[in-house]
C-alpha cells in the first residue's frame, strides 16, 4: 500500500523538476510579471500536494520559494533573505502545500476507509451466510474457524467453547492460539490485540454471558469487524442449537410412534401363527374322527408355525437392537465379492436351479463392511427376488462404483411393485388402518436389511416397473484409509 523508497525519491525528483521547468520557462521563453510567476508556482504546488502528499509538497514549496527569490525577485541572481515579499511567498507556498495535502490525504483516507468497511460488511455477510447453512451444532462448530480463515483471509483461527472445553481450529498450527491463551481471554472478557504478532482475541458473548473465545492470527482485523464476528457466531450457535432441539423433539415423537406401531405389528404378527397352532391343537385334541392324513397336516402346520414364531421373535429382537443402535458392526475392508459369494452360498438351497447372473465391475475398491451383517441384507434381497419372480426368469446381481460407494443391486423379472407399495415397502411394520403390508414370512426382512445397510452408512433403494420387475439396490462406503495405507 505504501509507496516504496524509490517511488519517494522519484516523486521528490519530479517535484524539483517541475520547479526547474517553470523557472526555465519564465526565464528563457516567456517574460511576465512576478505575480504571475508566483501564481504558477502556487498552482503547481497545489497540484503536487493533492497528488503526492505533504512531504513532497513542502520540499517543493521551499525549492519554489528559493527559485522565485533567486531568479525573479530583484535583485535577480541573488538570495535576498531580508525581503518581506519573500516571506509572504514562502508562507503562501507552505500553507497551500500543507492544506491541500491534508485535505486530499483525508479525502483519500475516507475513501479507503469506506471501501474497507464495505469489504468488511460484505465479508460478514458471506460469513453469516456460511454459518446459517449448518444444520447442527457439531457441524457448525467445525465450520466456524474454516469460514473465518476463508472469508476474512486470516492465517489461522481458533474457537474455544467453555461448555465443551474444546478448541475448534482451522489454518496452520499457531502456538499463540493455544487453549491456555484462549481460556485466559475468556476470563478477561475483553478483546485483545497483539499487533507485533498479528494476533486478535475476542470473547464470544451470548447476551451478557461469555461462552467462549475466538482467536485469529496472520492479520489484524478491525475491532468492529471482530465484534460483529463474535455476535454472528453466538447467533449461529443459538440458531443451530434450536434447530437441533427441534429435530430431537421430532425424533422422540417419531420414536414413540414407532414403538406403538412395533407393538401393534408384533402383536399381530405373533397372533397369526398362534392362531394356526391353537386351531390345529384344539382340533387334534377334540376331534377323534381325524384321518391320519389330516392329523399329519395339522402337525406339520404346528411345526412350521412354531418355526415362524421363533424366527419372528428373533427378528423383532434384532430390529429393536438395530433401531436402538445397539448392533456393533465389525467393520473391515473386504471386496464386495466376499459379501456376494457368502450370500449366494447361504441362498443355495432356496435358489435351486434358478439362473443367477453376476456382474461385478472390474477393479472395484474394497468396501468397509461387516460381512456377516451385509450378507443378511443381501440374502434378504435375493430371497425376495426368488420368492416374487417366476422361477424360469433369471436374477441379476450387479456391483459397481458410484462416487464414494459401491452399489450392489439385485434385479428380478417379476411382476414389479406398485407405486403406492414402493413407498411403504421399507417402512418398519407398515400397517394401514384396515390393511397391512406384509412381506411373506415375518414382514420385517426388508426393514432389517435397510437398517443394516444404514448402520454401515449406506442407503437402500428400490426401482420397479409394473410387469418389468424390481431392482433393489444398496450402497456400502468405499474403504479409504486402508486403501491408501495397506
Amino acid at each position: 500500500m505504501r509507496p516504496s523508497i524509490l517511488n519517494h525519491i522519484l516523486r521528490f525528483g519530479a517535484a524539483f523538476a517541475i520547479v526547474i521547468a517553470i523557472t526555465l520557462f519564465y526565464r528563457k521563453l516567456l517574460h511576465v510579471n512576478d505575480t504571475t510567476i508566483a501564481l504558477t508556482f502556487l498552482l503547481s504546488i497545489l497540484a503536487v500536494s493533492t497528488v503526492w502528499g505533504m512531504a513532497v509538497s513542502v520540499a517543493m514549496s521551499v525549492a519554489a520559494m528559493l527559485a522565485f527569490n533567486f531568479f525573479f525577485l530583484p535583485p535577480v541572481g541573488k538570495l535576498a533573505v531580508a525581503d518581506a515579499q519573500n516571506w509572504v511567498a514562502l508562507i503562501a507556498f507552505l500553507v497551500v502545500a500543507v492544506l491541500a495535502s491534508r485535505l486530499s490525504t483525508s479525502a483519500r483516507q475516507q475513501a479507503a476507509d469506506a471501501s474497507a468497511r464495505e469489504r468488511d460488511i460484505e465479508r460478514l455477510y458471506r460469513f453469516s451466510q456460511g454459518l446459517l447453512e449448518s444444520g447442527n451444532v457439531m457441524e457448525l462448530l467445525n465450520r466456524i474457524p474454516a469460514q473465518i480463515v476463508n472469508v476474512f483471509e486470516v492465517g489461522a483461527a481458533a474457537l474455544f467453547l467453555a461448555d465443551k472445553q474444546k478448541v475448534y481450529r482451522s489454518g496452520p498450527v499457531t502456538p499463540q492460539l493455544d487453549t491456555e491463551n484462549l481460556k485466559a481471554i475468556m476470563v478477561r472478557a475483553e478483546p485483545v490485540f497483539d499487533l507485533p504478532n498479528g494476533l486478535c482475541f475476542l470473547p464470544v458473548r451470548l447476551g451478557v454471558r461469555t461462552i467462549g473465545t475466538l482467536g485469529t492470527s496472520g492479520s489484524i482485523l478491525p475491532r468492529q469487524t471482530l465484534e460483529a464476528i463474535g455476535t454472528l457466531i453466538a447467533i449461529a450457535m443459538e440458531h443451530a442449537r434450536a434447530v437441533e432441539q427441534l429435530g430431537q423433539t421430532e425424533a422422540a415423537r417419531q420414536g414413540e410412534q414407532l414403538r406403538t406401531a412395533l407393538l401393534d405389528a408384533v402383536t399381530h404378527a405373533l397372533r397369526t401363527p398362534l392362531t394356526s397352532i391353537k386351531a390345529s391343537v384344539t382340533n387334534l385334541l377334540s376331534n377323534p374322527s381325524l384321518l391320519d392324513g389330516q392329523k399329519h397336516e395339522l402337525l406339520t402346520i404346528i411345526n412350521e408355525e412354531a418355526d415362524r414364531l421363533n424366527r419372528l421373535v428373533g427378528e423383532a429382537g434384532e430390529m429393536a437392537k438395530l433401531d436402538a443402535g445397539e448392533v456393533e458392526l465389525r467393520l473391515e475392508a473386504h471386496p464386495i465379492e466376499d459379501v456376494i459369494s457368502a450370500s449366494l452360498a447361504h441362498c443355495h438351497g432356496s435358489l435351486g436351479s434358478r439362473v443367477v447372473n453376476i456382474h461385478v465391475a472390474p477393479n472395484l475398491p474394497m468396501v468397509r463392511v461387516d460381512v456377516a451383517r451385509a450378507r443378511e441384507a443381501l440374502v434378504q434381497l435375493i430371497e425376495n427376488a426368488n420368492q416374487y419372480s417366476p422361477h424360469d426368469r433369471p436374477i441379476t446381481i450387479t456391483a459397481e462404483l458410484s462416487g464414494d460407494f459401491v452399489v450392489t443391486s439385485v434385479a428380478d423379472r417379476g411382476s414389479g411393485i406398485d407405486d403406492p407399495e414402493q413407498a411403504l415397502i421399507f417402512e418398519k411394520f407398515y400397517r394401514g388402518k384396515d390393511q397391512r403390508y406384509s412381506v411373506e414370512g415375518t414382514g420385517m426382512g426388508l426393514p432389517i436389511a435397510k437398517a443394516i445397510v444404514e448402520a454401515h452408512g449406506g442407503a437402500m433403494s428400490l426401482t420397479s416397473q409394473h410387469d418389468r420387475g424390481s431392482v433393489f439396490s444398496f450402497t456400502l462406503p468405499v474403504e479409504r484409509a486402508r486403501a491408501t495405507h495397506p
Binding site: 392362531t275 394356526s276 391353537k278 386351531a279 382340533n283 389330516q294 408355525e305 384396515d434 390393511q435 406384509s438
Partner: protein, 237 residues
C-alpha cells in the same frame, strides 16, 4: 355330519390350511379366497352356505368385504378378528356380520359358532303376521313393509324381530333373546343385541332415537309394543 359349503376368506395361507383341514374333517365342503375381491367372486360362483371372513386383510378389508356381501346376500358371516375389544366387535357386527370369533380360537368354539350361524335355516313355528298402518310384517313370506315400502332384513335381524313380535307386550331377557336367535352357547354377548336392535330400529322405527315399537327394558331386555293408533297414524316423518 353336514355337507354345508363354507367359504374361508383369509390372506394367511397357514390359517386357510388349518381351517380347510379342520372343516373338512367335520364334513364341511370348503372353498377358499385370499382376499375380499376373490371372496366376492367365489360367492357368485360357489354360493356358499356360510362365510368365515378375516377382518385384517390387505387391499379390501374384511369389514368392507362384509358390507359388500351384505348388499346382495343374506349368507351367514362369521368374522375372524384379532383384537378383542368392544369397538372391534361392534364394528364387525355393524358391518353386517352375524357373529365373530377372536383369534386365536379353539376349534370347538369355532364349530359351535358355525353350527349356530347355520341353525337359522330350520323353520321356526309360524306366527301370524303383524299388521299396523305403518308397519306390516309377514313371517310366512319373510317380508317387512314400512309405510308400504319393503325393507331388507338380514336373517339374524328377522329372527330377532320374530322373537320380539311373538312375545308382544312382554319384556324378553337378554339371555333368552340371545339363545333364541344365536343358539344355546350364547348368553353373555349383550353387545350383539345392542347392535342388532339398533339396526332393526333404524330400519322399522319412524324415529330410531325415540323408538315406539322396540322398547328397551332397562337391566332386563327388550319389549315389542304396538303403538297407540293415534301416534301410529302420525306421518310427520
Amino acid at each position: 355330519m353336514t355337507s354345508a359349503k363354507v367359504l374361508i376368506v383369509d390372506d394367511e395361507p397357514q390359517i386357510r390350511r388349518v381351517l380347510r383341514t379342520t372343516l373338512a374333517s367335520q364334513g364341511y365342503t370348503v372353498v377358499e379366497a385370499r382376499s375380499g375381491d376373490e371372496a366376492l367372486e367365489e360367492i357368485r360362483h360357489e354360493r356358499p352356505d356360510l362365510i368365515l371372513l378375516d377382518v385384517n386383510m390387505p387391499g379390501r378389508s374384511g369389514l368392507e368385504t362384509c358390507s359388500e356381501i351384505r348388499a346382495t346376500s343374506d349368507v351367514p358371516i362369521i368374522m375372524l378378528t384379532v383384537r378383542n375389544t368392544e369397538r372391534d366387535k361392534v364394528q364387525a357386527l355393524d358391518a353386517g356380520a352375524d357373529d365373530y370369533v377372536v383369534k386365536p380360537f379353539g376349534v370347538e368354539e369355532l364349530m359351535a359358532r358355525i353350527r349356530a350361524a347355520l341353525r337359522r335355516v330350520t323353520p321356526a313355528e309360524s306366527i301370524p303376521p303383524f299388521l299396523s298402518p305403518e308397519l306390516k310384517i309377514d313371517f310366512e313370506k319373510r317380508t317387512v313393509l314400512v309405510k308400504g315400502q319393503p325393507v331388507r332384513l338380514t336373517p339374524k335381524e328377522f329372527e330377532l324381530l320374530r322373537q320380539l313380535v311373538a312375545n308382544q307386550g312382554k319384556a324378553i331377557a337378554h339371555r333368552r333373546l340371545l339363545q333364541a336367535v344365536w343358539g344355546p352357547d350364547y348368553g353373555e354377548e349383550t353387545e350383539y343385541l345392542r347392535v342388532f336392535i339398533n339396526q332393526l330400529r333404524k330400519k322399522i322405527e319412524p324415529d330410531p332415537g325415540n323408538p315406539r315399537y322396540i322398547i328397551t327394558e332397562p337391566w332386563i331386555g327388550y319389549r315389542f309394543e304396538r303403538p297407540h293408533s293415534g301416534k301410529g297414524a302420525d306421518k310427520s316423518d
